[in-house]
């Protein structure tokens, strides 16, 4: 039974060779050599015809069995080789994910822009729309119609930068607005109640600059006029605002204040988000952070724009955005905002 032995030798030799095949090419070569049309086993099967009947049947069965064994071995080996190749390829192409990315140009929005956007969003969600107005204003809108006539001592509250423009009568009526409040008058002039508006914009004061004072600053004015608007509404609206900006659990405190164009006038403080009222560096040890001035729109201001001041009431407020940003980000010098040191800008990346 030399033929049988031959089949067994072929099978064992092929299995040994298969164990050595470690890549696709070797596998392919092995397959052609062993199982191909001119392969060793095929040759055995082809030569069966020359064998006697009885031997042919035995050798044929043995050869077919050997073929099945080799086929299965091949499939298993191929899967293993493929897996190994994949593993090696993965290893070759492994990247260091901790390396910096290929940089895209880094743009960013100014921290004041972002603070303002958050503040405006808070009021938008309460039904306020956003309007803007002129930075160069008439005395009439900035002062007179807000009940601050010429020669009124309240003008001392607003150190003013005047535009060098003199009327024939010797008056100098043009100025850089000292607050966004003139927009109260401008908005009410062009529409009827109900009104809910916030007005962001640059304002200017004739003031020396230091860590807490800038002569140019960004203010947001708020105005709500309707039947039944009250001081309690002001308190609730600003409390909701404070919660959105400084955290849900914030509380607000009102105290008495004087602004000629509101009555009653208040200042609003929010409990310190850093120490929760016990006193710290952020709040200057008081537990409260002074945030803004506000009040009920003076009925004479309403009457001046032609509103029925018996029927309509309103509240107004004005806040400095720099102050909100200083508090939120723990910035200790207001002059950082407009000196534009790129190292400062880069501390607030993105949009």
């Amino acid at each position: 039974m030399a033929a049988i032995r031959n089949v067994e030798e072929i099978r064992d030799g092929a299995l040994a060779a298969l164990a050595q095949a470690s890549d696709r090419a070797a596998l392919q070569e092995w397959r052609v050599r062993v199982l191909g049309r001119k392969g060793e086993l095929t040759t055995v099967l082809r030569s069966l015809g020359s064998l006697p009947e009885a031997e042919r049947r035995v050798v044929g069965a043995a050869a077919n069995a050997a073929r099945d064994v080799l086929d299965a071995a091949y499939t298993e080996r191929a899967a293993r080789v493929e897996q190994e190749e994949l593993r090696q390829a993965t290893e070759r192409e492994r990247v260091d994910v901790t390396l910096p990315g290929r940089p895209l140009p880094a743009g960013s929005l100014h921290v004041i822009t972002r603070t303002l956007a958050d503040v405006l969003d808070a009021f938008r969600s309460l039904g306020f729309w956003v309007a803007e107005g002129p930075e160069v204003e008439w005395d009439e809108y900035n002062f007179t119609r807000l009940r601050i006539p010429e020669d009124h001592p309240a003008r001392d509250m607003f150190d003013t930068i005047w535009v060098d423009y003199t009327r024939p009568d010797g008056r100098r009526p043009m100025l850089l607005r000292t607050h966004t409040s003139p927009m109260q008058v401008r908005v009410m002039e062009r529409r009827q109640p109900p009104i809910r508006v916030v007005v962001p914009g640059r304002c200017y004061r004739f003031e020396a600059t230091d860590a807490t004072h800038e002569w140019m600053f960004l203010q947001v004015e708020g105005l709500a006029v309707d039947e039944g608007v009250s001081l309690a509404d002001l308190k609730g609206t600003l409390e909701e605002f404070a919660r959105r900006i400084f955290g849900r659990e914030r509380r607000v405190m009102l105290r008495h204040a004087y602004f000629p164009f509101v009555e009653p006038g208040v200042e609003l403080a929010v409990d310190c988000f850093a120490c929760h009222g016990t006193g710290c560096r952020v709040c200057g040890a008081t537990g409260w952070i002074e945030l803004l001035g506000a009040g009920m729109v003076h009925p004479e201001v309403l009457a001046d724009v032609g509103y029925d001041a018996r029927r309509y009431t309103g509240f107004a407020f004005g806040m400095g955005i720099e102050r909100v940003a200083l508090i939120r980000h723990g910035i200790d010098d207001i002059r950082m905002f407009y000196s534009n040191d790129v190292r400062f800008l880069e501390q607030f990346p993105g949009v």
């Binding site: 743009g107 535009v163 609730g236 609206t237 407009y338």
Partner: protein, 799 residues
């Protein structure tokens, strides 16, 4: 206003500690800006009397001082002060006292020492050692009324409130006014100071009559003649109180006028009666050229119409601002004519501004004083002149008051108060808090309070003022936090703002950092960028500094100034932008405030690591920004080469959207950049938001996508060097079937002839209704090239 709590205590019991009082005032009345404590020296620091001063046996400049502390103990200590003398009241520190070291200025504890062989168990102290000033030349000499042996804290300790006085509250510029508020807030009674006077007999020196000639500027003038005063120092307690308020004692007569001003808020002036020669005081406006020498020794020429106090026709005081030198009280004055008047606030304010002279008196008049206070002040001051300077008040008390006012009465509807506050406050509670504040509640009908407003509250004129009085008394804590009811109004549209905000985001997304620069620039600043043509900016009359004098016409200078230091820090690409306004002047109108977004780019393109690659940014980077920020926002975006001020010719263009110019782009002229210390190429991109809005693209209409495949074909065309690629591209796109044409290369040089360039386009040809055959596409291209040859002399490269 500086308010001493010791002084305040005379009018109202202080039932809370100082910090709590300050808090109450701040929340409900007027902000206490600071609380300053005088004292805290401890029991070892006492008032002492100097018994003996003897020479030191071993030192010429030192002396041995024995002091009396009121008990058995009479310590003898070494003292180097030149001003020590027997009989003085001084401050003595025992061993163990906490003081400030006179030499180092640091806190120290007093020890027993031996100085040049003499043991010194204690010290006579200087102001510096007490920590109240830097004065260390001599020891503190106390007034003679200081009680020997008393701890200094007891005698001189005090708390000073710095109270902010709002322009509408003249009453708060007085100690009594602050006391009145505190009494009301804490439910204590107010003790008013005595002001009884008993005028007796006619004046020896003759009556002084008063006539108000300009009643529109002087509402009341009270004159009191006090004869037989002895001018001398005022009592120690008065001097201390004046000092606590920051005023310098002068003599008893002047001190009394100042004291009453601080106490009641009514400024007064004392004339020497004998210097009022005519016996007739006239209050009138000045005539042209009139002048006066004021108390401070300055000769002042008065603007026409300045309100004056005149002796006959001679000006003797600038009403409400300052008295004249001629008639001032001197050490030998014996008869005083006391003025207590009410002047029009605006007149005093204008005069003060014109003379650049604002005094304690003028500040008070500016707030508008009630005429009633003039009489109260006159009586109080006359009372003190009698008590403290030995004078006699003569009959009659002159009182010119051309138009006496009735007290202000108000009917206050509780419904209105509720409307304003948002909460009801009951009739009885409202009445109670108002009465505490000095209002008289005459009747409380159904829902209406009938009130008389106290004369010292000129700020309360309408119902809403009373609502404020009520809420500040009942406390703001009582207000609930409500949200607005009612319908949400339809917003006003502001498309310029909306577009500006989109551009702001897109500039940031295009890799530029937002900066914010000042709206005001220096002279050099606005001309330096050279980009504003013939425009002249608005100037401000009182700039905060010469750096900030002109309202900007361009954002470029601010950006270039900001960019320069960044380029010194790093070489790789830097892009900065600002959204802001340019202020274009208009004759006799407010300027046109143009919303503008402007960006600058400079530096080298970064490599894979973000390091500078050595390859500078160029015009295409700037154009890339324009394409990215404006695509989809405006229709027909295109650049049109142009010569523009401040930009380098040949690298400058207008940004167009169809027929509209909406901005500019270009390389900043290197000479301009040089002025900002920038040596590398800088590119500028600017969009005028309102102009861009005019060219705003619509929402965009959908075009059906072709179902048929496109034929792609690259062609390189050789054309004249100065033919704009954009023009060539427009012509290509006019070719039937060509649906897109993208430039992908531009080449100049050999083997192309001089003056020629090759522009390569990637084309797509497509038919909407069928699959294009290769033949059809090639025919279309041949026709296109033929047309371009005729139109531009274009040749197919390599063709």
């Amino acid at each position: 206003m500086r308010v001493s709590l010791r002084w305040l205590e005379e009018y109202a019991r202080l039932v809370l500690p100082p910090e709590a009082l300050a808090q109450r005032l701040t929340v409900s009345s007027a902000e206490v800006e600071s609380v300053e404590r005088l004292g805290g020296w401890g029991p070892e620091v006492q008032v002492a009397r100097v018994l003996r001063v003897e020479p030191h046996p071993n030192a010429d400049r030192l002396r041995l001082v024995t002091v009396d502390l009121g008990g058995e103990d009479r310590p003898r200590v070494v003292c180097g002060a030149p001003n020590v003398a027997e009989g003085q009241k001084v401050v003595f520190g025992r061993v163990g006292a906490r003081i400030v070291d006179g030499h180092t200025g640091k806190p120290a504890v007093l020890k027993s020492t031996s100085i040049r062989g003499v043991v010194s168990a204690g010290m006579v102290l200087s102001e510096r050692e007490l920590g109240i000033s830097d004065e260390h030349e001599g020891i503190v000499v106390l007034p003679q009324d200081a009680p020997v042996g008393a701890p200094l804290d007891e005698y001189a300790g005090d708390v000073i409130f710095e109270v902010y006085v709002a322009p509408n509250r003249p009453d708060m510029a007085s100690v009594l006014g602050v006391a009145r508020e505190l009494a009301a807030l804490t439910g204590q009674p107010l003790r008013e100071p005595p002001s009884a006077i008993v005028p007796s007999g006619a004046a020896r020196t003759g009556r002084v009559t008063v006539r108000i000639a300009d009643a529109d500027l002087c509402f009341r003038y009270v004159g009191v003649l006090v004869e037989g005063v002895r001018v001398g120092p005022s009592p120690d307690w008065m001097q201390r109180r004046l000092q606590s308020a920051g005023m310098r004692p002068i003599n008893n007569v002047v001190d009394i006028t100042n004291y009453v001003m601080l106490e009641l808020g009514q400024p007064l002036h004392a004339f020497d009666r004998r210097q009022l020669r005519s016996g007739s005081v006239v209050i009138r406006r000045s005539r042209a050229g009139e002048a006066i020498r004021t108390l401070d020794g300055t000769d002042r020429v008065l603007a026409n119409g300045t309100l004056l106090i005149c002796d006959g026709d001679r000006p003797v005081a600038v009403a409400g601002v300052m008295g004249g030198e001629d008639t001032e009280v001197s050490p030998d004055t014996t008869d005083v004519f006391l003025e207590s008047a009410t002047f029009a606030p605006s007149s005093v304010r204008r005069t003060g501004a014109a003379l650049r002279l604002r005094t304690e008196a003028s500040r008070r008049f500016e707030r508008g004083l009630p005429p009633e206070l003039a009489m109260a002040g006159a009586r109080r001051a006359a009372h003190l002149l009698v008590e403290l300077a030995g004078g006699v008040v003569r009959e009659p008390v002159e009182d010119a008051c051309p138009q006496p006012r009735a007290p202000v009465r108000l009917g206050v509807s509780l419904a209105r108060v509720e409307r304003v506050l948002g909460i009801p406050v009951g009739r009885d509670e409202s009445a109670e808090v108002l009465e505490r504040l000095g209002f008289t509640v005459e009747a409380a009908d159904e829902g209406v309070l009938r009130l008389t407003v106290p004369y010292w509250r000129p700020d309360v004129r309408i119902e809403d003022d009373v609502a404020e009085e009520i809420v500040r008394m009942v406390g703001y804590d009582r207000l609930p936090s409500q949200t607005l009811a009612g319908r949400v109004p339809a917003p006003d549209e502001d498309p310029v703002r909306d577009l500006r905000e989109r551009l702001r985001l897109r500039f940031a997304a295009a890799g530029l950092r937002e900066v914010m620069t000042y709206s005001l620039q220096s002279t050099d600043g606005w001309t330096a960028a050279g980009d504003t043509g013939d425009l002249t900016p608005l100037r401000v009359a009182n700039p905060v500094s010469s750096e900030h004098e002109y309202l900007r016409l361009s954002l470029a200078p601010g950006l270039l100034r900001t960019l320069a230091p960044v380029l010194r820090l790093r070489r790789a690409r830097v892009g900065l932008f600002e959204c802001g306004r340019r202020y274009l002047p208009r004759r006799d109108e407010l300027p046109d405030e143009r919303e503008t977004v402007c960006g600058v780019l400079a530096g080298e393109r970064p490599d894979r690591w973000g390091s500078p690659s050595g390859e500078s940014l160029d015009f295409s980077d700037a154009r890339g920004v324009v394409e990215q920020v404006l695509s989809g926002l405006v229709d027909g975006l295109d650049l049109e080469a142009a010569e523009l001020p401040g930009l380098l010719p040949g690298q400058a263009a207008r940004i167009r959207a169809g027929a509209d110019v909406i901005g500019r782009i270009g390389r900043v002229d290197p000479r301009v950049a040089g002025k900002f210390d920038i040596a590398v190429p800088v590119y500028l991109v600017e969009v005028d938001v309102a102009d861009a809005l005019a060219a705003r693209a619509g929402p965009g209409a959908y075009r059906p996508l072709s179902r048929f495949p496109a034929v792609r074909q690259d062609v390189a065309l050789v054309v004249a060097r100065d033919l704009a690629a954009g023009e060539l591209r427009r012509a290509i796109l006019e070719t039937p079937l060509v649906v897109s044409a993208r430039v992908f290369d531009v080449y100049e040089g050999a083997p192309l002839p001089h003056g020629k360039k090759s522009v390569a386009f990637a084309l797509e040809l497509q038919a909407p209704d069928r699959t294009l055959s290769e033949d059809e596409a090639q025919r279309a291209l041949r026709r296109m090239i033929e047309r371009l040859r005729r139109q531009f002399g274009a040749e197919l490269r390599g063709g």
